[in-house]
Structure formats: structure tokens, C-alpha cells
Amino acid sequence: AQTVTQSQPEMSVQEAETVTLSCTYDTSESDYYLFWYKQPPSRQMILVIRQEAYKQQNATENRFSVNFQKAAKSFSLKISDSQLGDAAMYFCAYRSAPYSGGSNYKLTFGKGTLLTVNP
């Protein structure tokens, strides 16, 4: 079974600075998808960024980018120019790709990292 580990329960960053949230995962599959979700105090789960494992190029969405290291099974999220609205719980998630041999296509989440943004 796949597992997702977020080793930083909490992180803090100064407004306008850069912060990196770490995520590692364990899998025997060769193709899969990785996601970062954000959960602000409103509890709504919001997709931040996603990455296909067979694409070597790191995904980028505005101020959010990932550092995907497939061999190391690492998928960190970098937030540049942090804003107060970035304060939230961030979850890393894994999903098997079709025909990867996975038994199903559920999202497996890490335990989350609580990000605080200081003004």
C-alpha cells in the first residue's frame, strides 16, 4: 500500500518570503499522480498543484511550484512571495494512475502541514 509522509507538522514564514513544505511517499508503482491540497480555516479542500510521475518537468502554478524527485520519492511544495491568505493546512496526496497495477484509484493523504504566515 502507498504511504505519504509529511514530516513537518507545522511551518511558519514571513509574508513575502519563500517556504518549502516537504512530502515523501512510498510506492512500488511506476506511474502515479501527486497533488498538493490546501485546507484553510473554512475547511474547504482546494487543489493547489498536481504532477504526473512520468513527467520530469516540475509543475508550476503562479507562486506555487514543486520539486519532484522521482528516484527519491520526494514531492516538495515551494510557495514564493508568501501571502497572508496562504495560511492553511497543506496536504500532500498520492493517486495511482490507470493501468499502473494499483488496486484502486483512491487519494492517499499525508497528515498535513499547518502553515502560518506572519505579517
Binding site: 475547511r43 487543489l47 495511482s96 494512475a97 483512491k106 498535513g112
Partner: protein, 114 residues
């Protein structure tokens, strides 16, 4: 328009009661999910339905029974509620079962069992 809606948003009830949470999506998606988020914020899948067919059942007690009357709805019925059932329950949907498409989450239902 709300993409994935859940009712109620809050539910406070006594141990032993039976309760239901409703979920509806207006996105035309084929696949719907129920997740449980515990007090430590850990989010774990419970069920997944694809075109009204149960696909994933993650060792959830059989007191929990999902029902999908149509593709747009996935309701969760819980019998004989226990203290440990207190959590936030999220419904989600995605265009199809497998793929890179994101799952769209509802706002969550906070269940408190007293």
C-alpha cells in the same frame, strides 16, 4: 453555483442515534467519494462510487452505509453512532475514477456525537 454541496454542515447527536449526511454534485462527474477527517486533521477515504457502483470500501464499519440513488448524489447513513464517529466528513467528486483530474470537495459536515 456550488459544485459539491453537503447537508447538514453541522450535526450534533447522541450516541446510539442514526443519522444521514447528503451530498450532491452538479458537475456532471461520474465518481463520488466520502472522506473522514479526524480530530488530528488526518483525511482518509471511506467510500468511492463510480456511476452509482461501489468501487472503494476502506474497511469502514458496516454501521456506515453509502447510497447513490444517481450519479449526482452520494448519501452517507450512519447507524448506532459512537463517540469515535465524531469527525468532519467530506464528500468529493471527480470526472472519472482514474486520472489526473482533481477531486472537488464539498464544504464538509462536522459531526459531533455526545
Amino acid at each position: 453555483d456550488t459544485a459539491v454541496s453537503q447537508t447538514p454542515k453541522y450535526l450534533v447527536t447522541q450516541m446510539g442515534n442514526d443519522k444521514s449526511i447528503k451530498c450532491e454534485q452538479n458537475l456532471g462527474h461520474d465518481t463520488m467519494y466520502w472522506y473522514k477527517q479526524d480530530s488530528k486533521k488526518f483525511l482518509k477515504i471511506m467510500f468511492s462510487y463510480n456511476n452509482k457502483e461501489l468501487i472503494i470500501n476502506e474497511t469502514v464499519p458496516n454501521r456506515f452505509s453509502p447510497k447513490s440513488p444517481d450519479k449526482a448524489h452520494l448519501n452517507l447513513h450512519i447507524n448506532s453512532l459512537e463517540l469515535g464517529d465524531s469527525a468532519v466528513y467530506f464528500c468529493a467528486s471527480s470526472p472519472r475514477l482514474a486520472g489526473l483530474e482533481t477531486q472537488y470537495f464539498g464544504p464538509g459536515t462536522r459531526l459531533l456525537v455526545l
